[in-house]
């Protein structure tokens, strides 16, 4: 790697745009971030446990997990705010695990933005430039560009306390992007915003990332946000990275029970693996399901609510796995119905299946006997 890491690449200089990272033609194929066996312990607590992860150049990557799963600590290790207890960490091929934050070519958008309250918007944005010795007209030009990029023109002389949450968020983005970081880290950047603003900012952040072409790594506990925004998702729980994949891969083929349950809504039908192609459900039926798990392993079949079809008893398509039950509850959502189907069976077998049906179909009444079926390809066998 060349030495002037933190400063803009040649592309940015050429077209004069702020924070234009390496264009597609410049991408070297070196991963933006590479982690091998990264662990972080705080005393006896293992916050991050042997994480291996590769994030590509220009990727929009989401680290997703419940609070306390280690996702923020992982982000802080990339930023240099926490130093890994073990493992290797490289940014664009450069080993940085023990580097202080001011030497790393990354910038962070903090959860509560952490804007400097004693500085104006313009001073906040100029801070990183000043610390790297960029002053005067050149600094003014870059600050103006960053301000325009996040559409904050006219706010330059305000203090952070005079801005709304959404505006503070933009200042935080501009303050980071003005430095042309090679990787932008975002710690729950939308967490402090209300729902409507959050959805607006989701679209805006995605557009911004496309525009600047920088690798974005984004921490969130909101699975919908992660699926909607990112190119790939890494799901974490209890310090471990459980699955990495595109939103579709993670949603349609969850690696284990936790991921299936955490990403979207699903029905987990408990059972035991019978063969590599069948699962015996506690509810009674033996259903077709591909799995690598050994026969006899306790496992569950993850069936998404929108993949379940409801039929009259005995009207199920030939060969499709099905379970008989009774409508236990029906909720009208406008664009869809959500039914809860009670599946009979004794003891362990008793369960419910949540079904989501488009409103076009006829409404079913509570108490109506039905058969629930699905296509085996839309389901996944998951174990702990």
């Amino acid at each position: 790697m060349n030495g002037d890491g933190a400063v803009a690449g040649p592309t940015a200089e050429r077209d004069g745009g702020v924070a234009h990272g390496p264009g597609a033609e410049d991408r070297t194929g070196v991963p933006a971030v590479e982690m091998h066996g990264i662990s972080k312990r705080f005393g006896d607590v293992v916050a991050v446990d042997e994480v291996d992860l590769e994030i590509g150049d220009g990727e929009f990557f989401a680290l997703l997990g419940p609070s306390g799963c280690g996702k923020t600590t992982t982000l802080r290790m990339i930023a240099g705010l926490d130093i890994p207890s073990e493992g290797r960490l490289a940014i664009f091929g450069e080993e940085v695990a023990s580097w202080p934050p001011d030497r790393r070519p990354v910038n962070t958008v903090f959860q509560a933005y952490a804007l400097f309250p004693h500085m104006t918007v313009a001073q906040n944005i100029a801070f990183g430039l000043q610390m790297r010795g960029i002053r005067g007209a050149e600094a003014d030009r870059q600050v103006a560009e960053a301000t325009a990029l996040v559409r904050l023109e006219g706010m330059e002389q305000r203090r952070p306390s005079q801005l709304s949450g959404g505006q503070q968020q933009r200042v935080a983005l501009a303050r980071a992007l003005v430095n042309h970081p090679k990787v932008l880290l975002l710690d729950e950047p939308l967490g402090a915003l209300d729902l409507k603003l959050r959805q607006e900012m989701q679209t805006e952040l995605k557009a911004l990332q496309r525009e600047v072409g920088i690798t974005f790594i984004f921490v969130t506990h909101d699975q919908e946000e992660a699926l909607a925004m990112s190119d790939r998702v890494g799901v974490m729980s209890e310090g471990r990275l459980l699955q990495v994949g595109t939103p579709a891969q993670v949603y349609e083929h969850p690696a284990n029970r936790f991921v299936a349950d955490f990403i979207g809504r699903t029905n987990l039908l408990e059972g035991v693996v019978e063969s590599s192609t069948t699962l015996r459900l506690h509810a009674g039926a033996v259903v077709a399901a591909e799995t690598d798990l050994a026969a006899g392993t306790p496992a569950a079949l993850s069936v998404r609510p929108e993949q379940v079809r409801l039929h009259g008893r005995g009207e199920t398509p030939q060969g499709a796995p099905c379970l008989d039950g009774v409508i236990g509850d029906a909720t009208y959502l406008g664009h869809a119905f959500v039914y809860t189907v009670s599946i009979g069976g004794s003891g362990d077998g008793a369960t419910t299946i949540t079904v989501r049906a488009e409103t076009g179909s006829a409404a079913l009444a509570v108490g109506e006997p039905v058969s629930a079926s699905w296509l085996p390809a839309t389901t996944t066998v998951v174990a702990d």
């Binding site: 930023a79 240099g80 001011d102 910038n107 801070f127 990183g128 610390m131 790297r132 952070p160 980071a176």
Partner: protein, 278 residues
């Protein structure tokens, strides 16, 4: 009947509390008002009113003893404030930031000078200086009590006050701001200078003003640790009072009162958490 009775009792209780508040207020402030009013008395005698005049202010400021005492007071106050502000801030930062051996012990004892009675502190320091001088004198130099010892003593108690005030400010300080500065390429020193220091500056200034006021006011410790020629203004006032209160003393006291009030009010204003709206 009974409800009427309680209503009446409530009303009279309210009246009593109100009267008490006024009484306490008067108890605190009437002597001050009397002092200020009589400092403008034209009479030779303190307790005979003879008409308004700034005469005694002129006399006080023309008195060379008073001026020299004022000079000593200012030297001691300013030097002890500067030193104790730097050291007190450093102590507050160390206690807030670092986990080191003896931290808990220091945390507990740094506030001791605030609660120790002045007279104990004074005797303590006098004994300390006497013993220290005896030791140092065996190596040659002959040290005596003077302006330096008074200043050192004031530093000794002022550090605690500065540390308390600065720590209160640090408690409200958001450490993420320092992380943000580090993330934005600031070195540890750059972070302190550009982010930490400006944000805790009001606390430091408040501590410094408090230290200045305490130093200007102190009598007991200054009287014990001052040698000849190192008389501070409060010590001078205290010594002349034995010859009876003169209108001149009223004038000096009023001036000192005004200075103290200004410093304390400024200190409180700086400590008040305020919104960052300019």
């Amino acid at each position: 009947m009974s409800s009427l009775g309680t209503a009446g009792a409530k009303a009279s209780a309210r009246r009593l509390l109100k009267a008490n508040a006024w009484f306490v207020f008067a108890f605190l402030y009437v002597p001050i008002v009397v002092l200020v009013v009589f400092s403008f008395n034209d009479s030779e005698r303190v307790n005979v009113w003879q008409g308004l005049s700034p005469r005694w202010y002129g006399e006080a400021l023309g008195n060379t003893q008073i001026i020299s005492a004022l000079r000593v007071s200012l030297i001691v106050a300013i030097s002890s404030t500067i030193v104790s502000t730097v050291l007190g801030t450093a102590v507050a930062l160390a206690l807030d930031r670092y986990r080191f051996k003896g931290r808990r012990a220091l945390d507990g004892t740094v506030y001791l000078p605030i609660v120790i009675p002045d007279i104990t502190m004074a005797v303590m320091l006098l004994v300390f200086f006497a013993e220290a001088f005896k030791l140092i004198d065996t190596f040659g130099p002959r040290l005596t009590l003077g302006v330096t010892t008074v200043a050192l003593s004031h530093i000794a108690f002022n550090i605690s006050f500065v540390a308390v005030v600065v720590r209160a400010r640090l408690d409200q300080f958001d450490r993420t701001l320092e992380e943000a500065a580090r993330d934005l390429y600031a070195t540890p020193w750059g972070t302190f200078r550009r982010v930490t220091l400006p944000l805790i500056a009001p606390g430091i200034a408040a501590g410094a003003l408090l230290a200045l006021a305490l130093s200007l006011d102190d009598v007991v410790i200054s009287a014990f640790t001052a040698g000849p020629g190192a008389t501070t203004l409060p010590v001078y006032v205290f010594s002349t009072i034995r010859q009876g209160v003169t209108p001149e003393l009223n004038a000096i006291s009023t001036l000192m009162l005004a200075a103290s009030i200004t410093l304390v009010v400024a200190s409180l204003a700086l400590q008040r958490p305020r919104s960052t709206t300019p």
